[in-house]
């Protein structure tokens, strides 16, 4: 007996209320964008400059004591958070201290770090500084630019690739889905104020890749069906294509999610934000390849006059030049 996520034959109607779905997606994008615009992202030091110190101690952490030790140094905005994680042992008490960039310097100041470490060592016995990271404002500004450039470049090159391999309507649909995914991911990071650092950019690009993967598989089937059923109405044809690939879409999402969830639970707190972004992105990406990419394709319409001959299916590279 096989485990089946979806029955062998499905005929869900994905486009019965396509305007509604598109509307919901648009609304989500607006909400995500608004959250980003109003609240802003909780940028990590990669993008904002400053210092983070990760401390570890066998004694329970009293944030107040830490704060009292650091405040006299007059370093401006200092955030102290205790970190909890199931992978920690009973006497592992971890805290993260974030200090804003000190405005006089382009570079990182070694004295600041030394002063903070000394103050904390005086306040708490057996405190260890397991990692100390400092980024100067000059570099953080450049990192933001590079990150924006990377995401834009990824979306642009994908646009070009799909345009070449399919038609421009497909490319627009795919890119709309990508932008949808990216904005929703940034939106949830700003809404929940999860720390947004360089690794999250990597996650964003992975989401772009994954979402695209999904979209391309659906589009590939759409293209095949367009040749096969020349008279079928576009809406029915899209529906058929999505139903045919539904089993695969869900299978891949589930296996990927299985892997990511185990990483989320067991992988430690250092990469939790990164893994969270990817889990979210895969859920959103799966949704968007059906409800955004295909819907936009339906909306834009497709050129049905495929002048190329269709009897090339026996050749395994039949589709390459289509």
């Amino acid at each position: 007996m096989r485990l089946k996520l979806v029955p062998n034959e499905t005929s869900f109607d994905f486009f019965g209320r396509w305007k509604l779905w598109l509307g919901i997606s648009a609304l989500m994008v607006v909400i995500g964008f608004a959250s980003f615009a109003l609240q802003g992202l909780n940028f990590g030091i990669d993008f904002r400059g400053g210092t983070t110190i990760r401390t570890q101690s066998t004694q329970p952490i009293d944030v107040g004591v830490y704060r009292d030790a650091i405040t006299p140094l007059g370093l401006g905005d200092v955030t102290i958070t205790e970190v909890f994680d199931p992978t920690f042992g009973p006497d592992e008490n971890v805290a993260m201290i974030r200090i804003q960039a000190q405005d006089e310097a382009e570079a990182v100041s070694a004295e600041t770090i030394a002063a903070v470490e000394a103050a904390l060592s005086a306040a708490t016995a057996d405190i260890q500084f397991v990692s100390v990271e400092s980024v100067g404002p000059k570099v953080s500004g450049e990192l933001i630019q590079t990150a924006i450039l990377a995401v834009s470049l990824a979306i642009l090159s994908v646009l070009v690739y799909i345009w070449l391999r399919f038609e421009w309507q497909f490319a627009l649909g795919a890119v709309a889905a990508l932008i949808h995914d990216v904005i929703l991911t940034i939106g949830i990071f700003s809404e929940l104020q999860i720390r947004f650092d360089l690794a999250i950019i990597a996650a964003l690009l992975t989401i772009v890749g994954y979402s695209l993967n999904d979209t391309v598989v659906v589009f590939d089937r759409v293209r095949e069906n367009l040749r096969k059923y020349k008279q079928m109405e576009l809406k029915d044809l899209l529906n058929l294509s999505i139903n045919e690939t539904l089993s695969r879409t869900l299978m891949t999402s589930v296996t990927t999610l299985l892997a990511l969830i185990s990483l989320y639970v067991l992988g430690g707190d250092v990469i939790r934000g990164f893994v969270f972004a990817m889990i979210w992105g895969i859920v959103v990406g799966t949704y968007s390849s059906i409800f955004v990419a295909s819907t936009i394709l339906l909306w834009l319409g497709v050129k049905r006059d495929w002048s190329k001959p269709t009897n090339t299916t026996g050749n395994q590279f039949a589709d390459i030049d289509a």
Partner: protein, 553 residues
């Protein structure tokens, strides 16, 4: 039909076997690492019984390349330094001044007396008392310029000279600045490398980044500040004539003179001639030593030209004090007792043994041509790295088991084929990583876990397609064949697009993020290979043996 030529079969198995063999050393990481270290040591220092035993832990005929662990996994320090290339302009200008002075003196008849005017460090301003001789003066100074080779062509010279009223202004030309910048950064890189090598840490990464930056990563070092102590000091050693000694930091200094604090005597300031007699660049050796009172000191020796300059100066200035200056602080200012012809000497000061050793290292490696400013520094403790490795291992194993179980439950026998391919796939990723000397970082582990999840995608596409083809009942062999054929275009498109993003990530990212891009990209390559070739081969072999009339996917 379902046929694969024998040579293709052999090739597929060879690739898998080769990949797994390359991955094997990583399973015995510590053992292979010790063995590699011992081999390197034998190469350097000759064989001892201990080293031979350590080297013997891993057979020499086996591949022994390991995946490099990134700093976030191994612990260590990371620094991004910016070379202050402008520093060099000032030194260049300073060296230019005597030349200009001598050249203009010869023309005293036309230009009159000359006087150096205060100016920014990267230019020289000279006032002449007879402005009508300006044309001649400019001509003379321009005559001092040297042509430089640039990519854009010849014709550029190293200085720009213009007249401004009764002043001559000399600056470095843009082309010369660019050339100087490049040379400065390359020299700095070399000196940083020498200093780190002197201390002898393992596998440091020292790379140039962009126009004027140096990236330094040293695994296993305690903290970034320790690393900065080694490389952060300019160690610019000069020997300057002393004009006066006093306690006023604002003491009057004429043009061509500067006021410099003493290193160990609080509140003491020296007024020095800016142009040094000799510089640390002419040192050939420096060793920690002790002076006649048994206090730590540093012995040094000059090269021939340095020795001559030093000898001439001490001969002509017996009884006058001169200063040993390190990074704009006077270490000591002894009075010249006698002519020192041999070109060697001793630097005494209030050193500890450690400081004198450190100073000797810095002097030997040479001075940094310019200061370094640190833009980014990260220290990762080894415990945190180990925790991350442990957590990553557990997560990978759990993810693996979950995906394997799920595939088996969904596709039965075909699922098992896919699972074998998946295991080979992860082996191949590690094999390739070792082969290209890639670095595994924490996000890189996430990339592998993600690949475990996504690698089955290609197989899923194929299996789903086979299921569909089976419905139209063309017989199992035909269905399998069509399944592979028709799924191919979707597999290629889907993976090429993901690969594009991995490439962009690699090109734009740095450090850990780049590690993620590497494993993701390699994972895409290996998963396409295993899905298209390995599972297909497994399915075909099974099909040939059993010849089933019906199959269930």
């Amino acid at each position: 039909m379902l046929q694969i030529e024998s040579w293709k079969r052999v090739l597929v198995w060879l690739v898998c076997f080769g990949g797994l063999l390359l991955a094997l050393p990583n399973v015995f990481y510590t053992r292979v690492e010790q063995s590699n270290d011992a081999r390197a040591a034998i190469e350097m220092k000759g064989e001892t019984a201990e080293l031979a035993a350590a080297a013997g832990q891993w057979p020499s005929w086996m591949p022994s390349s390991l995946v490099n662990l990134g700093l976030d996994l191994r612990g260590g320090a990371h620094l991004l330094a910016e070379v202050q290339v402008e520093d060099v302009y000032a030194a260049r200008m300073e060296a230019m001044w005597p030349e200009i002075r001598n050249a203009l003196r010869d023309e005293r008849g036309t230009v009159g007396t000359i006087r150096k005017q205060p100016s920014p460090a990267d230019e020289i301003r000279v006032k002449i008392s007879q402005p009508e001789g300006m044309a001649r003066a400019l001509e003379v100074v321009r005559g001092l310029s040297r042509p430089i080779q640039t990519l854009t062509g010849a014709g550029a010279s190293d200085i720009e000279v213009r007249g401004q009223g009764d002043e001559i202004v000399v600056t470095l030309s843009e082309a010369e600045k660019l050339a100087t910048d490049d040379r400065t950064v390359r020299q700095s890189l070399e000196i940083v490398r020498r200093r780190i090598d002197e201390v002898g840490t393992r596998e440091p990464t020292i790379q140039r980044q962009g126009a004027d930056r140096i990236l330094i990563q040293v695994p296993g070092i305690g903290s970034a500040s320790e690393l900065k102590e080694i490389i952060g000091t300019t160690a610019q050693l000069t020997f300057n004539p002393v004009v006066a000694r006093g306690t006023d930091p604002e003491a009057r200094a004429d043009v061509g003179q500067k006021v410099v604090p003493s290193l160990d005597q609080q509140g003491v300031y020296y007024t020095l001639e800016t142009v040094p007699v000799v510089t640390g660049e002419e040192l050939v050796d420096a060793q920690p030593a002790f002076d006649q009172n048994g206090r730590p000191a540093v012995n040094f020796r000059f090269n021939t030209s340095g020795a001559r300059k030093f000898g001439d100066y001490t001969r002509d200035n017996i009884g006058a004090p001169f200063a040993i200056v390190l990074d704009d602080e006077v270490i000591s200012a002894p009075v010249i007792q006698s002519h020192i012809p041999g070109g060697s000497g001793i630097i005494t000061g209030n050193f500890t043994v450690e400081e004198s050793t450190n100073l000797a290292v810095l002097l030997r490696a040479g001075a940094l041509p310019a200061g370094l400013e640190f833009l980014e520094e990260r220290t990762i403790g080894p415990e945190l790295g180990q925790d991350s490795i442990d957590a990553g291992k557990v997560a990978t194993v759990v993810a693996f088991v979950a995906v394997l179980g799920f595939m088996w439950a969904s596709y039965g026998l075909f699922g098992i084929f896919a699972n074998i391919a998946l295991i080979i796939n992860v082996g191949l990723i590690f094999g390739l990583l070792s082969l290209i000397g890639g670095t595994l970082t924490l996000p890189g582990i996430a990339g592998i876990v993600l690949t475990v999840g996504m690698a089955v995608d290609a197989n899923v596409l194929i299996f789903e397609r086979i299921r569909e083809e089976l419905k139209t009942a063309k017989g199992p062999a035909r269905a399998i064949e069509l399944g592979y054929e028709k799924a191919l275009s979707a597999i290629l498109d889907a993976n090429i697009t993901t690969f594009i993003t991995a490439v962009i990530l690699f090109a734009m990212g740095s450090g850990p993020v780049r590690g993620f891009a590497i494993t993701l990209g390699l994972g895409i390559l290996t998963s396409v290979f295993t899905a298209i070739f390995v599972t297909r081969l497994l399915v075909v072999i099974w099909f040939e043996r059993r010849r089933p009339k019906t199959i269930e996917v």
